[in-house]
């Protein structure tokens, strides 16, 4: 099975293109150190029925100064009133250890129940919060302490997305791409972009600049790598995995293939694809240097603060916004090249699954 390279794909990519992305490497190192500190602070709180899961920059290994800790207590087991106390304990211990609490949306910083995630994919009861938690669990999450519940739920989600995808299992298409999963990833991205405007209205522009920068970069990154993960089923899975699917209609091996991707960060997935598909060096540099510059900017407290306070009506002529917009345009150009210009089969998949 051709999984994303078992060695660190970002280092391999740096070596291949002859560049060093200092801000990315610093953010990754800081994330690992921060994770250790949080692990220590939360010791003893997780159980086989309840995993402490983090999302956002910590899970993506893009930890910068002032990053929040977006966490949830993921419960997959017998109902227990004590779970609430454990969740409260997680919040208190993180505050005591001086970590920034999650935002005020209510999506993080509380309890998440596996049944909603697994049973309500689509339909009336699949709320915005449920979709967000579910998709982020697959795209940018990590766990502390006992990971049993987390691992079970990730497997169950992948199983639902692939086993319920009759087109994937029984269809005659030459492409083997999990469309049900891909559509949910696309839906989530579109939801984020629509909610951005809703928040702009509801919060009277508060935090607009920072949210806009994240939308252009980190949110877009996870959308792109979510698509790549789905396309990997066709492009990077081994012939055995695809044979199991086409001959036996079994998705087990494909689920395991995708599970390996859930263990990687979005930047690692992007780097792995650039390496595996032997994408033009200039595109790789464009993407990673843009992201590196973005992380450097976000790590600069004064610039981050400026973005946080920036209102939509103030963007014209604002130097920090102009800077981040420049990086986002470079990043967008890189993505357009990757998905549409540098690899024939990836281009075909993008048109086939991404457009119609």
């Amino acid at each position: 099975m051709r999984h994303p390279n078992s060695k660190d794909p970002i280092s391999l990519l740096e070596n291949r293109v002859g560049e060093r992305w200092a801000a990315i490497n610093r953010a990754r190192k800081n994330a690992i150190d921060t994770k250790k500190a949080i692990e220590k602070a939360l010791k003893g709180l997780s159980s086989t029925d309840a995993s402490i899961v983090v999302f956002g920059s910590l899970a993506r290994k893009e930890w910068t100064k002032k990053s929040d800790v977006d966490w949830t207590l993921l419960i997959d087991g017998q109902a227990d009133p004590e779970h609430l106390r454990v969740a409260q304990d997680v919040g208190q211990r993180l505050r005591k250890a001086k970590f920034n609490p999650p935002g005020t949306t209510g999506i993080f910083g509380n309890m998440t129940f596996s049944h909603d995630l697994v049973q309500k994919i689509g339909g009336r009861e699949d709320t915005n919060e449920n979709t967000t938690r579910r998709v982020l669990l697959l795209q940018e999450s990590a766990t502390f302490g006992k990971s049993d519940a987390y691992e079970r739920v990730v497997r169950l989600l992948l199983s639902r997305y692939l086993k319920d995808d009759y087109g994937l299992r029984f269809g005659s298409l030459q492409y083997k791409v999990p469309r049900f999963l891909l559509n949910d990833i696309v839906r989530y991205w579109r939801t984020v972009t629509v909610d951005f405007v809703d928040k702009q209205r509801g919060q009277a522009g508060q935090g607009w600049g920072l949210r806009n920068a994240k939308l252009r970069m980190s949110r877009k990154l996870i959308f792109a790598t979510g698509m790549l993960s789905c396309f990997s089923c066709h492009l990077l899975s081994s012939p055995d995995v695809r044979r199991e699917l086409t001959k036996l209609h079994s998705t087990v091996a494909m689920e395991e293939h995708l599970r390996e991707f859930t263990l990687k960060t979005p930047l690692e997935i992007l780097a792995a694809f650039l390496l595996e598909l032997d994408i033009d060096k200039r595109t790789a540099v464009k993407l990673f240097s843009a992201y590196n510059s973005f992380l450097k900017l976000i790590n600069d407290e004064s610039k981050r603060e400026r973005l946080k306070k920036l209102l939509p009506e103030e963007i014209r002529g604002d130097a920090v916004f102009k800077e981040v917009r420049g990086y986002s345009h470079q990043f967008q150009d890189g993505l357009t090249e990757l998905f549409f210009k540098r690899h024939k089969e990836l281009q075909q998949l993008t048109i086939f699954y991404g457009v119609f």
Binding site: T48, D148, E151, R152, R155, L156, S250, V252, E256
Partner: protein, 248 residues
């Protein structure tokens, strides 16, 4: 038809004689003599010669699931009576203090995959580490444990793909959220059915479901539903309906 029997410990807690009595005069030809608690092993071994086990074509013994390092050699010595009769010995890997003392049982030793409470022996990857230390040992595949660790049953598929050749016995029951055994339910039957076609029909099935004597046959019928026998055309026959192989 798969050989299906019971663990004496499931039928009668800590009382193998009563468990055997509950199976007597029934068309059940497989049994696991349970000595899950350390104190149960010596009395069981002492009683073996006097037990009427003539109805059983398959007999195994479950070794204690918890004991101190200082008694490990004594337990191994007691179990030599079992191996001398060529009966398989079921062992929880996390109980082992010194793997080398268990090696002499060779293929008669069946390592059981564990439930979520344990930190070892739960997955194909974790079992690989155990079998590296006991290369000749076989596998007692506990479907309930495996489903508790991974309800998708993908891990079961991976374990069978990796260690199917070592398969010596099955443990079947529903393992609930408190990690105790229950009778099979509709959902566990459905889950086990997904991988039944990967299990050879001659592998003995030992039920660990705690049931009353009156419900023994009901539970066996449920086990037959959960583990349908593949037909010659590759499909699986179950109670009048044919299932396609691609359930997983």
């Amino acid at each position: 038809m798969r050989p299906i029997g019971f663990s004496t410990g499931a039928l009668a807690y800590s009382d193998f004689r009563r468990g055997l009595a509950m199976l007597r005069h029934k068309s059940i030809h497989a049994v696991e003599l349970s000595a899950l608690r350390e104190a149960e092993l010596a009395p069981l071994i002492e009683a073996i010669d006097s037990l009427d086990l003539s109805q059983f074509a398959y007999i195994s013994v479950h070794a204690p699931s918890k004991y101190g390092k200082e008694v490990e050699s004594r337990i191994v010595n007691l179990l030599r009576t079992v191996s001398a009769r060529k009966w398989p010995i079921i062992l929880h890997p996390e109980t082992v203090h010194d793997f080398s003392v268990w090696q002499s049982f060779r293929g008669l030793l069946l390592i059981e995959n564990m439930d979520k409470r344990n930190q070892t022996g739960r997955t194909a990857r974790e079992l690989e580490l155990i079998f590296a230390k006991l290369p000749q040992a076989g596998l007692c595949f506990d479907l309930g444990h495996c489903r508790q660790v991974d309800p998708t049953m993908n891990e079961a598929f991976l374990i069978l793909r990796e260690f199917g050749g070592k398969l010596g016995q099955l443990h079947v029951s529903e393992v609930n959220t408190r990690s105790t055994h229950d009778p099979l339910s509709g959902s566990s039957i459905g889950a086990f059915e997904k991988i039944a076609h990967l299990i050879p029909t001659n592998v003995p099935v030992i039920l660990e479901s705690p049931v009353s004597e009156a419900d023994i046959q009901v539970e066996i019928d449920h086990a037959r539903k959960a583990l349908p026998v593949p037909t010659s055309n590759g499909n699986r026959k179950r109670e009048g309906r044919t299932l396609h192989t691609a359930a997983i």
